[in-house]
Point group: C2
Chain length 510, copies 2
């Protein structure tokens, strides 16, 4: 039997590369959380240098030679010798390393360095442009990044559309052809539901969530929920940043960020829970495999299923708040004393078309994604020019959600993603929504008392189940294989659609 031991020469080299990548990730984390503004240009060069070195090492003749021993360079197929098969971890490792290697091999190191530098700079300019609500300030950087990403797609190669090349980076195997009918199906069920909600006699009042809430207390409450979820502060941190995110340098050092708005109780709260879901995944990877794909998340869709499950299936459930609402009421006694648990549950689940994706309800959230999915394709396929983006954004907002931003900060500038070149990333958010309910329903099936436990503040039962079923496997299975192993099915939108129809049908008495 050939095992991980067989490929040890390879994994030693991968470990070095991963350490360089971890260092680059710390540099990015610092850029978003602590770096003084003046350090931005030097930082972009540092990150670019490290990513260039990591890339060169990954495509080195050394690794090429090792890989060619075990993988056919023409077909990418793993070589089997009769009577001496690969065990599953080693086979998975080779499959995934080959995927990373062959993609990296298509990109020149100079290009990788340029892309890295420009993305770091563009991200800094984006943050400033958003603050000043000035899209034009960001436009030159967006142009540069977009043109580099189109170049990247050409290097990588694709079928049908260059956008497919970028999609595949975030969600292996994902294509426009597969996503379009899926999104149409969801839209076909969500839009009528949304219409019924808007016509419902039930009026949910959430104004109380926009009163004044002490920022330090909000942060402390978020931290407390993270601890209850099992997020380990011995191996993690919680910091502030303009756009909440999660990053990991090793399963022993996983960092989440949030933001706090004095006049919005939900922002810090749900971004803590959301990023906590990501953080648990990263802390739950198996450190014995660090440096290899077996200690790496399987796809962004699966990653997002973890954050969205905690944020929505758990964090916007009656069970969760049965335990936590009395604590929240105690923390914000003055503001919440008149609001009972059921009213609070309704308020945090109010459905209403809104401008900001990350603050959208569970239904309209996916419309935000669909809009971005269309715009991204047009940008990458060259049908839309970057300078036309604000107008196009506003038109699509009108079409999808019936509302129009009053400025670019709450419009096209709201998301950080395009600034760091993450075209093809947004669709994974909707995939995450679908996976999240599919997994959550399975968890409920397998752990009959789970929601009772959540209602008693025992969140660790779910956390352990996710750890066992998903986190610890890394990229051992493909996303599809993982979904089948966990739920007996490939990705299926039905659980999500049933969940929202039931939840919101009940809330809005439809």
């Amino acid at each position: 039997m050939k095992t991980l031991k067989t490929v040890e020469d390879l994994t030693t080299r991968l470990l070095e590369i991963q350490r360089i990548n971890s260092a680059a990730s710390l540099l990015s984390w610092d850029q978003e959380t602590h770096m003084p503004a003046g350090g931005g240009a030097a930082r972009a060069e540092q990150i670019s240098t490290l990513q260039g070195i990591a890339h060169q090492k990954l495509i080195s003749p050394d690794i090429e030679r090792l890989l060619a021993t075990w993988v056919d360079p023409e077909t990418g197929e793993i070589r089997d010798s009769p009577g001496d098969a690969w065990d599953e971890p080693a086979r998975s490792l080779l499959r995934e390393v080959w995927r990373d290697y062959s993609r990296a091999k298509k990109l020149p190191s100079d290009f990788v360095m340029t892309l890295s530098r420009e993305c770091s700079l563009a991200q800094q300019v984006w943050a400033e442009a958003k603050e000043y609500r000035a899209f034009s300030q960001f436009l030159p950087n967006l142009r540069t990044v977009l043109s580099l990403k189109r170049e990247e797609a050409e290097y990588l190669g694709y079928r049908d559309s260059p956008y497919n090349a970028l999609l595949d980076v975030y969600e292996p195997g994902s294509t426009i052809a597969a996503l379009r009918p899926l999104f149409a199906q969801i839209k076909g069920r969500l839009v009528p539901l949304l219409k019924k909600i808007q016509q419902s006699s039930v009026q949910v009042d959430d104004t109380i969530l926009f009163h004044t809430f002490d920022q330090a207390r909000q942060l402390e409450f978020g931290r407390m929920v993270l601890i209850a979820m099992g997020y380990d502060f011995e191996r993690g941190r919680l910091d502030l940043s303009a756009h909440p995110f999660t990053t990991s340098f090793h399963p022993t050092d996983v960092r989440v960020t949030t933001r706090v708005h004095e006049h919005d109780l939900q922002s810090c709260l749900f971004s803590c829970i959301h990023e906590g879901g990501h953080g648990l995944y990263e802390q739950g990877l198996d450190p014995r495999y660090f440096g290899t794909p077996l200690c790496d998340s399987v796809s962004l869709g699966i990653h997002e299923s973890q954050s969205r499950m905690w944020e929505n299936c758990v964090g916007r459930s009656r069970a969760f708040w049965r335990f936590f609402y009395p604590m929240l009421q105690q923390t914000f006694h003055h503001q919440l004393r008149g609001l009972d648990g059921e009213q609070f549950y309704a308020a945090i689940n109010r459905v209403k078309p809104s401008l900001i994706r990350v603050e959208a309800d569970e239904l309209t959230y996916n419309l935000h994604i669909m809009l971005r999915f269309e715009i991204e394709q047009d940008l990458i396929e060259g049908r839309t020019r970057p300078e036309d983006l604000p107008g196009i954004w506003n038109l699509k907002m009108e079409e999808y959600l019936g509302i129009v931003p009053s400025n670019d900060a709450e419009g096209v500038l709201q998301d950080v993603h395009w600034s760091f070149g993450a075209f093809g990333y947004f669709p994974t958010y909707t995939l995450g929504n679908l996976y999240s309910v599919q997994f959550y329903e399975q968890a409920k099936l397998e752990i009959p008392h789970m929601e009772d436990e959540i209602a008693a503040g025992q969140l660790m039962t779910l956390q352990r189940w996710l750890g066992q079923k998903i986190h610890r496997w890394g990229r051992m299975f493909t996303p599809d294989h993982l979904a089948q192993r966990v739920t007996g099915k490939s990705l299926d939108p039905e659980p999500f659609l049933t969940y929202v129809e039931k939840k919101y049908g009940e809330l809005y008495k439809i």
Copy 2:
């Protein structure tokens, strides 16, 4: 004329190496300021990986070949061709790159990586051992680091003592043979002065400095003084750490740290001013030369001259407090209302043998250094075993300062330096004290109104003078050459000795 342009192929490569080193420095900064405890082992590997890569790149055949074009590899002499001389920056650059290269060349990359990893780990264990006052906890790591540093000295080569090889890293050209008589000379003047002070009828009362002072306010005051000194927060930060330090990733991103003790007004205040002096040096380096020795500090002695000048010559002067004391009194109105400026000046200059080096007065401080200088030599030369350190430390404290620590946290564990292998570093602190007064007296000569300006809160005059005379030159001149350029003399202990005799003679009415 051959210029920096001539060696551009070299400086491009150095720039890449410097960026890797900058990344490693950020990893270390994060380790001391923000890293969750669990991330320590992975962090040590990350830093080690980066330092190994930087080392391999510095001693690469590529750089060897380039250097050999301009420097004779046998003698280290820069090749001159008649009628086509090197200009001063290029000549200095080659001299200093050769110094770094030829030292690095003597060390195997594996050794560099091991040393780096072990130092990162030992530093973390030291912090814990200090907290628990348990030297034995730190002993195994100290043994490892010491043995590696002795090995390093063997690799580097030396005359007379392996300790000389280590000294030279921090203070080029420095040797035991030169330091011993210098230290003896200082001791010969300080000890009698100290005796007179102890016999003086003047009793300085500093108990008020150990009342209770709100920590946030202390930090805010420290920040305000840093701004007045010209420390640029657009290109810098102030954070908390167990041991205050300064680090730089580029002149546009220089970070200082401090610590705050609720019952010690001086700790945060003077460590802010001290680290601010280091920070101004780093922010004052010429960014056009970033990546080369021309954008690097010339020696630790000169570096320390900047921090000690700000801390002592400025920060413990009557002029400084004429402006700042009313503000301090306002900040801590309740505690300081009964203490006038002259009493405050006396309190912060109280001379008294004490246990902690960084909190020592200007006189006894140097005795702390001499004690460490002797112990270090004995450790490196193998006359002292690490396990005997606590006893030896306490004996020498008795001998030099007449007091004995009650536990190792205020004894042998107080300083971080040995944990990260910085043997040979301490003597530069006393060199810094000497240089600081030598430079400061020169500044007063050249700027007749300087102390009036300081008394009016105008600290930027001195800051600009230091920038022009010292900071911007990087390693263009050797430390000795720099001292001669600035003051017309090599290092001279006389200004320092005269300064302390005058200052403390007056204060203690001797």
